[in-house]
Every structure is written in C-alpha cells, then in structure tokens.
Subunit: 172 residues, 2 copies
DNA sequence: CCTTGACCTGAAGTTAGGTTCAAGTTACAT
DNA sequence: ATGTAACTTGAACCTAACTTCAGGTCAAGG
C-alpha cells in the first residue's frame, strides 16, 4: 500500500488507457514526469493514474494539452495533490461544458427551424449566409465548443489579410 | 438577376467569410468547382454561396470535409439544388447534434457529481479511472462529438499494437 | 499602353496530438 | 548466464484543414 511500488510505462499506460508513446509525449510537453531506474527506464507512482485520468477527462471536455498543462501547473508543487486539488481544477469545466451544450443546442434549434422552413442558405437563416450579404453567418457558431469550431473567428483567421473587404459590400 | 454575373474568388470568399485559399483547397478536395475565364481565373455563380454556407454549417455541426463531400455528392448532378435538396442533407445533422448534446450533458452531469463528491480520478467516478482497474473510463466519452473526442476508441488507437495486454490486469 | 491589385500554380509550412521507426539497452525469469 | 519482452532515444511520419510562399499571369482603370 505504500507508494514504493513504481510501475513501468507499459503498465501505467495500459491502466490509463493510453499508449506509452503518449506518456512520453506528455512528458516532453511537461504534463507529467517520471523517476528513472538506474538503467534509465521510467517508473511511475500509482497516483500518476490520477493525473492521467485528469488529463483525459480534461481532453474530453475539450481542453488542449496547453490548457491542461497550465491547469496542472497550479497544483501544489511538493505535496501530492489531494482530491480537493483535483476538484478545484475540474470545477471550471462545468462552465465550459455548459457553454458547449448551450452552443450546440442553439445550433440544433436553428437547424430545426431551418429544416422546417426549408431556408437553409437562403435569407433569414441563422445557420447560413443571407442571400447576398456577407458573413453575418456564424452567429450561432460563436457558441460552439472550441474543438468544434472551425473557420469562424478562429486565430487561423479566414479573411484577415488582404481581400477582407472586397467590393460590393462590407461585413454587414 | 440572371446568373450571368460571375464573381471572382476574392469576392465570393469575402462574402462567404472564407479565405480564397480555402476555396482553392475545397476545389482540390472536390467539394466545389468553378468556371474559368479565358485567362484561367475562377469565376463563381452566386449560388455557390449556398454551397459554401452548407459546408460551413456542416463543419459547425462537426462534420469533416470528407463527410461533407460525401453529402454533397448526393445532390442532383445537373440541376441547381433546391432548398428541399439542402434541407434533406441537413436533416441528418439533427441526430448528430442530439447525440453530441446528450454526450456533453452526460459528461457535465458526471462532472458535477464528481465535484460534489470530490472523487475525481478515484474509484466510482464516471469521468476517470477507477483506482486500479484499467480503462473502464470513457463510458461517458463515447457520447462525445467526433471533433471533441480524443484518445478513446479513436482509429488513431492508443493501445492497439503491442503492449495492449500488459500484465497485472487486462481491459477489465 | 501601363500600372497595379487580384489571380494563378505547385510546393512547402503550420498546429495538435500523437505514432512509428531504427538502432540499441535494460530488466527479469529461468 | 542468457533469452527476450519491454524499455530507451531522436527523428521522421501522420491527419485535418488550411495558409504561406515563390514566381509568374490576368484584368481593368486611367
């Protein structure tokens, strides 16, 4: 029951439902660490499973490894995190999930009315472009979860350079 | 009002809220096409905006370009798609969104109870690994939208090759 | 005619989150 | 002592959905 039992990477990976390569990758990214045997092999304490579980749960909520890394950084450095520590970290997920759910619900409802009226991609449709006015579209999409969002006000920007304002009409 | 007014790529892109490079990319992927001027420049009819709106809406629902491409392939080849055509395509999105919403809701509710009991990553938590048994985790995750899912039963597989069965216990 | 902004192509680069490979080393059961 | 499964590393590769770049062409106003 003492934590002197250290597990090799394959064992930990298997129990966490991850590939060993993923654990090495996480280590490179600074999300986890391991002690080493004299021969250089990684050994993990059992509570690493908690950390890995947290990482997976966070990913499922839609957080990037970057965000997860930041969150993990707020854990106490020298003592083993308590359940309260983990709970604190996961508390903020709720809002995120609420937002995601709200966004998808809005999208669904918009879609439903579109199907009802057959207006998809015609004027007055929340899901799509008005007939001739640019990009007022996407009103619903703003509520979408980050991982689901594409091409709307993303930092990879779709009309940020030249040709943003083309000619006949602007951004409406 | 006749569709002899053909728009250049910058114009169409701007109105659709996309980058010209995205349109060229879609063309390479076979999602759209364009007529060309004698000089080889692309010209798009106005109703291309519908198609682009569809593509964006579909992406927002979480479909990949591959899936969208398949869907577009079911449109009538020689006539201009009607609103009914577009509505048919988008009808199936509803189920998808319903599933996504249900999945996120389940995840949120699981999270809420986890926060309540402080059990995150301990036994009996729907969001995380049981203390010592591998990967029964993910039950909730299966309901997650494709774009949000990672590392659970994805085709990029996390323990599919060797070391799937490590030692002390299997997949539970 | 001439300028200039928009357009063309193919190839390469980008980000995220890993996986796969090659070549070599370690750990442990027998 | 030894066989072999599991481990090590760095580098290259992977998918998706694009963007960026280089080098060159087109279109339209004046």
């Amino acid at each position: 029951m003492d934590n002197t039992d250290l597990l090799p990477i394959g064992e930990i990976a298997s129990r966490a439902g991850l590939a060993p390569s993923a654990l090495r990758y996480y280590e490179r990214r600074g999300l986890i660490s391991a002690v080493r045997t004299s021969g250089g092999q990684r050994r993990y304490p059992r509570n690493m499973l908690r950390r890995l579980a947290f990482i997976r749960a966070a990913q499922n909520v839609g957080l990037s490894l970057q965000e997860i890394s930041t969150a993990l950084g707020t854990l106490p450095a020298q003592r083993t995190p308590t359940t309260a520590d983990w709970a604190r970290l996961s508390r903020s997920w709720r809002n995120r999930l609420d937002e995601q759910i709200a966004g998808l619900t809005a999208l669904r409802d918009g879609l439903t009315s579109c199907i009802g009226c057959g207006c998809l991609s015609l004027r007055r449709c929340r899901l799509s472009n008005p007939n001739d006015k640019a990009a007022s579209y996407g009103a619903g999409a703003r509520y979408l979860p980050h991982a689901l969002r594409r091409s709307i006000d993303a930092e990879s920007g779709q009309q940020r350079s030249r040709n943003a304002r083309s000619s006949t009409n602007g951004l409406a």
